[in-house]
Symmetry: C2
Subunit: 114 residues, 2 copies
DNA sequence: TGACCATATCCGCTTTAGCGGATATGGTTA
DNA sequence: TAACCATATCCGCTAAAGCGGATATGGTCA
């Protein structure tokens, strides 16, 4: 069951849950997540690497930017948990605050990439 | 989301998943879990305390024995995860081996309590 | 009451994991 | 090529968590 423990371990951290809550909606790049959560770049990057290694997200390079999105194809268990996260995390105030900061950041950027 | 992180943290350990896999079926006492998993008593007891504190199980004293069972009433999220655990853990060989050891132990005990 | 048993908690230890500033990497633009 | 930018990784540190033998607790039975 170490496989399953690994999947749940990724969810056993508040920062990673906040990142996942954002990625439930859309693909985002690192600087957008930084802006939404107001955490240092190394912290965000480290947690994203963790989520990638545990099968939760996929990344994609576009020029200088790295985009991260949910990985729906790796584990059945992950796929089954995703709807639960959607239900339980979306209503959290920590999430709505993060979403607002994300929108502000995107507005400041004037819709140019990242 | 610390509440949710706490719930998932309880699942982020192989030993606790093995304990929960057993409790998905039935209520068990500590010595039965020890026999099924072949782990020292302090280890089992510590993890059971962890599962109780994170809302996953309830305990009940019967004479000298402590019985543990799933807690279906604490968190909606827990309730929604339980069926996923049933699906994904029951087929694991680690679980079927543990179940066999549990049966053997119960047979040796000749159906007297624990 | 005292001996005994199941379980919980304590203890010292080791391992794991998180943090964030500093540095490395690797793609882009001039 | 060089300067620059976004991101990844390194590093030293601290806090959290797991381990299992030893001890404490609290219920039971004689």
């Amino acid at each position: 069951m170490q496989q399953e423990a690994k999947i749940f371990k990724a969810l056993a951290d508040d920062t990673r849950l906040r990142i996942l809550a954002l990625l439930l909606d859309v693909e985002l790049c690192v600087c957008e997540i930084m802006a939404a959560l107001e955490l240092p770049q190394s912290t965000i990057s480290r947690h994203l690497a963790y989520l990638r290694n545990s099968g939760w997200v996929l990344d994609r390079r576009q020029g200088v930017w790295m985009y991260y999105r949910l990985n729906n194809n790796e584990h059945l268990l992950v796929n089954e948990i995703i709807p639960l996260l959607t239900n339980h995390l979306a209503k959290k105030s920590a999430h709505t605050v993060a979403l607002k900061k994300l929108r502000n950041f995107q507005k400041e950027q004037g819709h140019q990439a990242c």
